[in-house]
């Protein structure tokens, strides 16, 4: 499978631009903007290192590429959350946003698992999947907390 990092870069930039909380000026950006970049790229690197150290048979850039592209469900859930936020700020809307984010998180983790756990031994699959789970959990939490 050939890899490229353009998709992850675009998705990461999109995530960083759209995830800003309401009321913050575009001018300032706050720490969240750079934070998203650091979380995504450093997180992907750490997860990849973890799989490689556990004896995985996948190249570094391929793994980072897969993790980056699996940000897509997160971006989609972010778009849905934003649209919902535009219409109402009620508790019901929050519950719907929360569920949408959970769905995005589950989809992303599942997709990444499909790609990356094939290269792991059966006994260590859990150890390899747990950081992926954490990675997307943090990103989904970012999405939910910043669109409230």
């Amino acid at each position: 499978m050939s890899w490229d990092l353009w998709g992850p870069l675009i998705l990461c930039t999109f995530l960083a631009v759209v995830v800003l909380p309401d009321g913050r000026e575009i001018h300032d950006g706050g720490p969240q903007f750079a934070e998203v970049f650091i979380i995504v790229w450093a997180g992907a690197a750490v997860v990849t290192l973890n799989s490689k150290l556990l004896g995985g048979n996948i190249s570094f850039f391929q793994s980072v590429c897969v993790l980056g592209y699996c940000l897509l469900p997160g971006c989609l859930s972010l778009i849905v959350c934003r649209i919902l936020l535009f219409f109402s700020h009620s508790t019901v809307a929050f519950i719907i946003r929360f569920l949408v984010s959970c769905l995005g998180f589950a989809w992303a983790t599942f997709a990444a698992m499909m790609f990356l756990s094939d290269s792991q031994l059966q006994a260590r699959r859990g150890l390899a999947v747990y950081p992926i789970f954490l990675f997307y959990l943090v990103i989904s939490w970012l999405i939910v907390s910043n669109t409230s």
């Binding site: 870069l9 631009v17 903007f33 970049f37």
Partner: protein, 214 residues
């Protein structure tokens, strides 16, 4: 008309009609422009937005866009056209990743213009240094947001530099330090030969040294 046998051991035979090309004219002016243009634009946008306090996000996204365009252009286009080098990565069926570094053999498809090559390498080396300076400035003044941008810029620029140095150094067989030493010694050898050649061809004014009309 005896052919001019070059004193240096190189197969850079001039193509017919190319002897009259004036030195300093670019063979690929647009390529040179784009090679230097995107890098300079990225650095200029970064510096201007940092100093004039323009919107951070806008400048961040613009800088990253320019850096990405520059990376792609240098890796795929200007490296190939200006100096005949290219590098890439491919994954084989077993899932192993291979890095391939290739250099075009001189003389097969036109020579590499030395002015353009000089500009290429200069730009390739100077900009990572400049970005490194920006990184240090961001660290010292504790501007973490700009630090992230500097890291990205440095990684993109240095990866191109690394790739082309590996190409120049002859691919993955030889180690880079050995190849750099080889390059330096061959450069010195060429310089010495050129000096000797100029000494011999600089004949004194009243000696019958010219052999052009036989």
């Amino acid at each position: 008309m005896a052919a001019n046998v070059p004193l240096l051991e190189s197969d850079d035979v001039l193509e017919f009609g190319e002897e009259d090309e004036p030195k300093g004219r670019f063979k690929h002016p647009m390529v040179v422009l784009f090679h230097v243009g995107f890098r300079s634009a990225a650095l200029v946008v970064y510096m201007l937005c940092g100093w004039f306090d323009v919107s951070f996000i806008g400048s961040f996204v613009t800088t990253i866009l320019l850096l990405s365009i520059d990376f792609w252009t240098v890796k795929n286009i200007t490296g190939r056209i200006l100096v005949g080098l290219r590098w890439w990565n491919f994954i084989d069926e077993k899932g192993q990743s291979h890095w391939v570094f290739e250099a075009r053999k001189s003389g097969s498809q036109g020579r590499v213009s030395s002015t353009e090559a000089r500009i290429f390498w200069t730009a390739l080396v100077v900009f990572p240094v400049l970005w490194g300076v920006m990184l240090l400035v961001a660290v010292v003044t504790l501007k973490i947001r700009w630090f992230v941008l500097d890291c990205i810029a440095l990684s993109l620029n240095c990866s191109n530099l690394w790739g082309f140095v590996r190409c120049k150094a002859g691919g993955s067989e030889t180690s880079v330090t050995d190849s750099v030493k080889n390059m330096a010694s061959s450069l010195m050898r060429q310089q010495m030969l050129a000096n000797m050649a100029s000494m011999f061809t600089r004949s004194p004014p009243n000696a019958g040294g010219s052999n052009s009309n036989v």
